[in-house]
C-alpha cells in the first residue's frame, strides 16, 4: 500500500528526516511514536505533499505510484488523507459547503444534494457533533477539540484508503479522544490503512495498532507490536534515546 524507502527531507536547508523506511500494508494500522522534534509531523506533511518541504532523497510509493510526481489533490484522489495537527481556517466557507466540494472532488461521480445532506448528518452523528456545526465557517473560532473532530469528520466523508493522523490526539480530553477513536474505528477494515503519529500512547488504548514504530532524530529506530507502546509509556523517551540515540548507535 504505502512504501517509504530511505526518505530524506529538508526544510530551509536543515535535514529533518534522515533516511526513513516504512511499509504499511493494506488494512494495517501503524503508530509512529516519538518525542518532539523527531520529524514526525514533517513526515506526515511530506507524505501528503506540502510544498514547503524539500525531498532530498529516497522514494515514497502509494499503491505503486510515485507520490512525489503528484500534487496534494491528486494524492487525495488516489485515497490518501491527512488529519492535520493545525488545520487552517477558511472564513466564509461553511463546513457543509467544504465537505460537499471535497467529496465531489475525490469521487468520480457527483453525489446528489439530498444524499450529501444525509451523508453529512450521518457522519456528524457518529462524531457526536451538533447539526448546526455544518453551517459554521471552516475551523474559524473552533476549539482545539472541534478542529480535531472536524478532521475526523472529513475523513469519514472522504473514506480514504490511507489516513495519516498527525497528532490528532494532542490537546484532547478523554471524551473527545474517545469520539475521535470511534471515528477511526468506524473505517477500520481490510481496505483502510492508517499511520497514527503521536507523542503519547494514550490514543492507542482506543485504536489498537498492528505495528508500533519509534521515531528519533529523523529515523525509525525501533519497531514492534502494540506492547512497544506500553514499554515506551513506562520507560519514557529518554530510554529510547539512550538505547537507540546517536551516541548508542556509534
Amino acid at each position: 500500500m504505502l512504501k517509504i524507502e530511505n526518505l530524506q527531507v529538508e526544510i530551509d536547508g536543515q535535514e529533518i528526516v534522515k533516511g526513513l523506511d516504512l511499509e504499511v500494508g493494506k488494512g494495517e494500522i501503524h503508530a509512529i511514536m516519538g518525542p518532539n522534534g523527531s520529524g514526525k509531523s514533517t513526515l506526515a506533511n511530506v507524505l501528503m505533499g506540502h510544498p514547503r518541504y524539500e525531498v532530498t532523497g529516497g522514494s515514497v510509493t502509494f499503491q505503486g505510484e510515485d507520490v512525489f510526481e503528484l500534487e496534494a489533490d491528486e494524492r487525495a484522489k488516489l485515497g490518501m488523507f491527512l488529519a492535520f495537527q493545525y488545520p487552517s481556517e477558511v472564513p466564509g466557507v461553511s463546513v457543509a459547503n467544504f465537505l460537499r466540494t471535497a467529496v465531489n472532488s475525490v469521487r468520480e461521480e457527483e453525489i446528489s444534494p439530498m444524499d450529501m445532506y444525509r451523508l453529512i448528518q450521518d457522519k456528524m452523528k457518529i462524531m457526536q457533533m451538533d447539526p448546526k456545526f455544518a453551517e459554521r465557517y471552516l475551523n474559524e473560532g473552533f476549539s482545539g477539540g472541534e478542529k480535531k473532530r472536524n478532521e475526523i469528520l472529513q475523513m469519514l466523508m472522504l473514506e480514504p484508503k490511507l489516513a495519516i493522523m498527525d497528532e490528532t490526539d494532542s490537546g484532547l480530553d478523554i471524551d473527545a479522544l474517545q469520539v475521535v477513536a470511534k471515528g477511526v474505528n468506524e473505517l477500520r477494515g481490510p481496505d483502510f490503512s492508517a499511520v497514527i503519529i503521536t507523542h503519547y500512547q494514550r490514543i492507542l488504548r482506543y485504536i489498537e495498532p498492528d505495528h508500533v514504530h519509534v521515531m528519533l532524530d529523523g529515523r525509525i529506530v525501533t519497531s514492534g507490536g502494540k506492547d512497544l507502546a506500553h514499554e515506551l509509556e513506562d520507560k519514557g523517551y529518554e530510554w529510547v534515546r539512550q538505547e537507540f540515540g546517536a551516541g548508542a548507535q556509534s
Binding site: 496534494a72 487525495a76 492535520f84 487552517s88 466557507v93 471535497a102 472522504l158
Partner: protein, 470 residues
C-alpha cells in the same frame, strides 16, 4: 510540480463576455468628441424641454472648467475627444418581449439571463446602448402608482418630479465626471415609489455597452416616498474592445422619512473600460439607504457610493467588493456624512488583488457638529492572492462632534500556502482551492445579494481568476 503555463498560452486572458453584435443604429452623433453643438443635438433628438437643454449646457461648462482629477487612478490616457457621446440603437422601446429584435435577444442569451428569470422577475429595464430597449412592469405595481421606466421616459411623462429632484443630490458641478454625465446623459432608470408601498421583488436593469468607443452615461434617479421600500438591482457586462471605453454614470437616491432603498450593483466591465461613477443618496428621518456594490473588470474603477444622513435616526450602509486582476486598478470605497442626530452607518469593504492588480479602499466618514449620538463603523479587508498584488487604504475621517461613536478596522490577508495545501489535501485543485478562499472572503457581501446574483458574482470572480494560478 506541473509546468507553469502562461495565461496567454491557455487563452484564458480573454474577456469572457467579449462577444459583440453587428452595429445597427438608429441614431449616432455625427462625430466623436463633445461640444455644445453635440449636446444640443442630443437634447433635440430626445425632444427635451428647454430647461433640460440649459441644464446640459451649463453642466458642459463645468466639465470643461474642471481639471481631470489627479488623485485616485491614472486618467491621463483617457481621451475625451475619441468617444461617441450618444448612440441610439432603435426607434422605439420594445413594449413586450416579442418586440425586442433578435440580435438584442441574442445578447441577453449570451449574458446568460434565463428567459424564466426575465419573466419571473417582474421588472426588467435593460439598457442596450444608450437607450432602454425593453421594459416591463407588473400590473400591480402600476396600480399602486410605482413608476419604473428609463430616465428619458421619466422626463417625458413625469417632468415635474424629475425637475424637482434631478441633479439635486449630485449637482452637475460636483466633479468632472458628474458634469460630463449631466451634459450628455442618456438612459438609466427613473423610479418613484409612492408612500407606504413596498416592492417585494427587486427592480432590475441590465446594462450593456456595445458600440466601440462609446461612452455610456446613464442617469438613474430613485425616489422612495415616505415609508416605502424598494430594492433596485443593476448589473453590467461589457464586451471587449481594443480602444478605451468610458462609462460614467450618475445615480441619485432619495429616501423620504421611514423609507428604505437598497441599490445593488454587480459590474463586470471589459478590461479597457474606465468606470467612473458618482453614486449618492440622501436619507431623511428614520430612513435607510443601502449600497451593495460589486466591482469587477474595467481598467480603472473609481467609485465611492455615498450616503448623506440628513434626518434624525437615518441609517446608511455600504457594502463594497472589488476584484483587481492583472493591469487593473479598483479604487473603490464609500462615503458617509452624518448631518443629523442618532444616525448610524456601516461601511464594509472587501477587496481582492492578484498579479499586477491594485485595489484601493478610499473612504470618507464625516460627522457634522450636532449629529450627536451618531454611530459609525468602517471595516475594510483586503485579500492578496500573490506576492505582487497591491492594496492601499485611505480612510479619511472628519469628526466635528464629540458625542459620537466611531470604529475603524482594517485587515490585510494573503492566501497562504498552508490554507491552499489544506484544501488541496481534500482533493481540490489549486485553482479550486484559491476560488474557495476568495468566495469565502466575499461571502459576507454575497449573502446580501439575491441568490442568483450571489451565484453570478461568485461565477464572475471565478471566471476572472481562471488561469491565474500557474
Amino acid at each position: 510540480m506541473p509546468e507553469d503555463k502562461t495565461i496567454q498560452e491557455l487563452g484564458l486572458d480573454e474577456y469572457k463576455f467579449g462577444f459583440r453584435d453587428p452595429e445597427e443604429y438608429f441614431f449616432k452623433t455625427p462625430r466623436k468628441g463633445i461640444d455644445p453643438e453635440i449636446v444640443a443635438m442630443i437634447s433635440k433628438h430626445k425632444n427635451e424641454p428647454e430647461w433640460m437643454l440649459e441644464f446640459r449646457l451649463k453642466a458642459l461648462e463645468s466639465f470643461f472648467e474642471k481639471p481631470t482629477p489627479q488623485w485616485g487612478g491614472n486618467l491621463n490616457d483617457l481621451d475625451f475627444d475619441d468617444i461617441y457621446y450618444y448612440i441610439r440603437p432603435m426607434e422605439n422601446q420594445g413594449r413586450s418581449w416579442d418586440d425586442v429584435p433578435d440580435d438584442i435577444k441574442n445578447t441577453f442569451d449570451k449574458l446568460g439571463i434565463p428567459q424564466a428569470e426575465r419573466e419571473s422577475l417582474a421588472g426588467v429595464g435593460a439598457q442596450y446602448e444608450s437607450e432602454v430597449v425593453y421594459h416591463s412592469l407588473k400590473e400591480e405595481w402600476e396600480k399602486s402608482g410605482v413608476v419604473f421606466m428609463d430616465m428619458d421616459g421619466g422626463l417625458r411623462e413625469h417632468e415635474d418630479l424629475v425637475r424637482e429632484y434631478f441633479g439635486t443630490i449630485i449637482p452637475p458641478d460636483d466633479n468632472k465626471f458628474a458634469a460630463l454625465n449631466s451634459a450628455v446623459w442618456s438612459g438609466g432608470s427613473f423610479v418613484y415609489v409612492p408612500p407606504g408601498v413596498h416592492i417585494d421583488i427587486p427592480l432590475q436593469a441590465y446594462f450593456r455597452i456595445n458600440a466601440e468607443n462609446m461612452g455610456q452615461f446613464e442617469r438613474t434617479l430613485i425616489i422612495a416616498d415616505e415609508g416605502s421600500y424598494v430594492h433596485y438591482i443593476e448589473g453590467c457586462t461589457a464586451p471587449t474592445y481594443t480602444t478605451n471605453s468610458l462609462h460614467s454614470a450618475v445615480v441619485e437616491l432619495i429616501a423620504k422619512p421611514n423609507a428604505r432603498i437598497r441599490y445593488s450593483t454587480i459590474q463586470n466591465w471589459s478590461h479597457n473600460t474606465y468606470n467612473l461613477v458618482t453614486k449618492r443618496g440622501a436619507a431623511y428621518e428614520n430612513s435607510t439607504i443601502e449600497w451593495v456594490d460589486g466591482n469587477l473588470g474595467s481598467k480603472l474603477t473609481m467609485k465611492y457610493p455615498a450616503v448623506y444622513l440628513l434626518g434624525e435616526g437615518a441609517r446608511g450602509e455600504i457594502l463594497s467588493v472589488a476584484y483587481a486582476g492583472d493591469g487593473q486598478h479598483q479604487d473603490a470605497g464609500g462615503k458617509v456624512v452624518h448631518a443629523a442626530p442618532n444616525t448610524s452607518s456601516l461601511i464594509t469593504s472587501k477587496s481582492i488583488s492578484r498579479g499586477t492588480g491594485r485595489s484601493t479602499y478610499r473612504g470618507l466618514l464625516k460627522v457634522h457638529e450636532g449629529a450627536v449620538n451618531s454611530k459609525s463603523r468602517v471595516e475594510c479587508d483586503a485579500l492578496l492572492l500573490d506576492e505582487h498584488a497591491r492594496t492601499d487604504t485611505y480612510p479619511y475621517i472628519e469628526i466635528e462632534e464629540k458625542k459620537v461613536n466611531t470604529e475603524h478596522e482594517a485587515t490585510v490577508s494573503k492566501v497562504g500556502e498552508d490554507q491552499l495545501f489544506y484544501l488541496m489535501s481534500r482533493g481540490l485543485s489549486e485553482e479550486e482551492a484559491m476560488a474557495m478562499v476568495v468566495n469565502g472572503f466575499i461571502e459576507p457581501i454575497a449573502k446580501e445579494l439575491p441568490l442568483e446574483y450571489a451565484i453570478e458574482l461568485n461565477r464572475l470572480i471565478q471566471l476572472e481568476m481562471e488561469g491565474s494560478v500557474g
